[in-house]
């Protein structure tokens, strides 16, 4: 149940979840916006790092995730 394949599946799922967070409709509303004033002084707090991490995932991983999801969907369809 806790195999390597399951782990990859879960990681893809979580990355998808992070990648589809919308900047202005959601993150700004809860104060986790990328460019808010509170970030300028403090790049080391946990919150700042989390915001950086989320925005990095959204910027960098969107296109690879499209490819990975397509591959995964094709694989799942093939197994039906």
């Amino acid at each position: 149940m806790f195999g390597f394949g399951t782990l990859l599946y879960v990681i893809i799922l979580l990355l998808n979840a992070v990648a589809i967070l919308n900047e202005e409709r959601f993150l700004a509303r809860i104060g986790w916006a990328r460019n808010s004033a509170e970030l300028y002084g403090d790049t080391e707090s946990v919150k700042a790092k989390l915001i950086n991490l989320i925005s990095a995932v959204r910027t960098l991983m969107r296109i690879p995730l499209i490819i990975v999801n397509v591959v995964h969907a094709v694989k799942e369809m093939d197994e039906l």
């Binding site: 149940m1 806790f2 195999g3 390597f4 394949g5 399951t6 782990l7 990681i11 080391e44 707090s45 946990v46 790092k49 989390l50 991490l53």
Partner: protein
């Protein structure tokens, strides 16, 4: 002896005309091409000649036949030459005489060499081989001391890792496991992983429900747990500004030490009463947690006099260390599951 009849032209083409086999890790050393050709022809002819001695071998198994002519050849030659073909002599005389098969052997040897170089170049770009070798530089005493520390962690008094200094006294890293009993290594984790898979295979074999793919599932679970833990620790390190104090290979090493504990616990599970299994589970869980906390403490929580900026995070780091240690229970619990015989 009348055993060898060089004028016997029968039996296949003389396979002596072959190009020089390519050197590398996968081809045996072949210094004498001439003697090799001679030996091949003799070898061949001794197989096909109607002389009395080989006949009894011909009717018998092929694997027995090459042994006798080889001895006689050595007697004749007077020196044992590792011959390119004699290295594969166990495969039988028909294999030897077939030129296509010999070409295939050479091709396979050179292909293996090329692959090895390719792998070394490509892997060398991602993983520093020198750093890896540092983690495998262990001695027997180190392994025994480490195993003792894993099983009885309260005995160890000093958990400080010794720093390696170069000629001018600058600190350039940590001492290798050979010199420092507290330094993490990768030998025990690798051995532990393989032993864990084998032990699970053994146990379900004894229970009678073994299938070969279960070994794969077990290895996959073990790898999944390791990857999950390393990713979790890496993410925590990023969030809490733990930089170069905790290297990736160190995390891998500390993560792999749990296999020692799980092997011991999983050996209790089928053959001990349930309370004894739970007792060993909790004992080794706490031992492993203690080991992790003491080992990682110096890396994660420096003495407060050194750095001032991290005081904000100090409490968080302590919590983080505690979470890592308590998660070991969860990992061991996952790893001691196997198929029961009731299925």
């Amino acid at each position: 002896m009348a055993h060898y009849n060089p004028q016997m032209a029968g039996g296949g083409m003389p396979a002596g005309q072959q190009q020089q086999p390519m050197r590398g890790a996968f081809s045996p050393i072949d210094p004498h091409q001439q003697q090799q050709q001679q030996q091949q022809q003799q070898f061949q002819h001794s197989g096909f000649g109607p002389s009395p001695q080989p006949q009894q071998f011909q009717s018998g198994a092929h694997t027995g036949a090459p042994a006798h002519p080889q001895q006689q050849q050595h007697q004749q030659q007077g020196v044992a030459n590792p011959n390119f073909n004699m290295a594969y002599g166990f495969l039988g005389q028909d294999f030897q005489n077939n030129q296509a098969a010999q070409l295939g052997m050479q091709f396979a040897g050179s292909a293996m060499n090329a692959m090895q170089e390719n792998v070394q170049q490509n892997v060398g770009r991602y993983v520093s081989m020198r750093q890896l070798k540092h983690y495998f530089d262990v001695s027997n005493l180190y392994v025994l001391a480490k195993l003792k520390t894993l099983v009885f962690p309260w005995i160890q008094r000093n958990w400080h890792r010794h720093a390696e200094r170069d000629a001018t006294g600058q600190v350039v890293g940590f001492k290798s496991p050979r010199d420092d009993n507290n330094s993490p290594d990768l030998y025990i984790p690798v051995m532990g992983l393989v032993s864990y898979v084998i032990v699970i295979g053994l146990i379900i074999g004894r229970l009678g429900v073994f299938h070969p793919e279960d070994l794969g599932y077990t290895a996959s679970t073990a790898l999944g747990i390791i990857v999950f833990e390393v990713l979790l620790i890496k993410m925590f390190c990023y969030l809490l500004n733990v930089g170069s104090e905790l290297q990736f290979l160190d995390i891998l090493a500390f993560s792999g030490y749990k296999f020692v504990s799980t092997i011991i616990v999983v050996l209790f599970k089928p053959w001990a009463p349930w309370w004894m299994t739970w007792f060993t589970f909790f004992y080794f869980g706490f031992a492993l947690a203690f080991f992790m906390i003491r080992s990682l403490r110096h890396a994660l929580i420096p003495e407060s006099s050194a750095v001032t900026g991290i005081n904000v995070h100090r409490k968080r780091r302590v919590h983080f260390l505690f979470v890592i240690a308590m998660l070991q229970f969860f990992y061991i619990w996952v790893l001691i599951r196997y198929k029961s015989s009731k299925q």
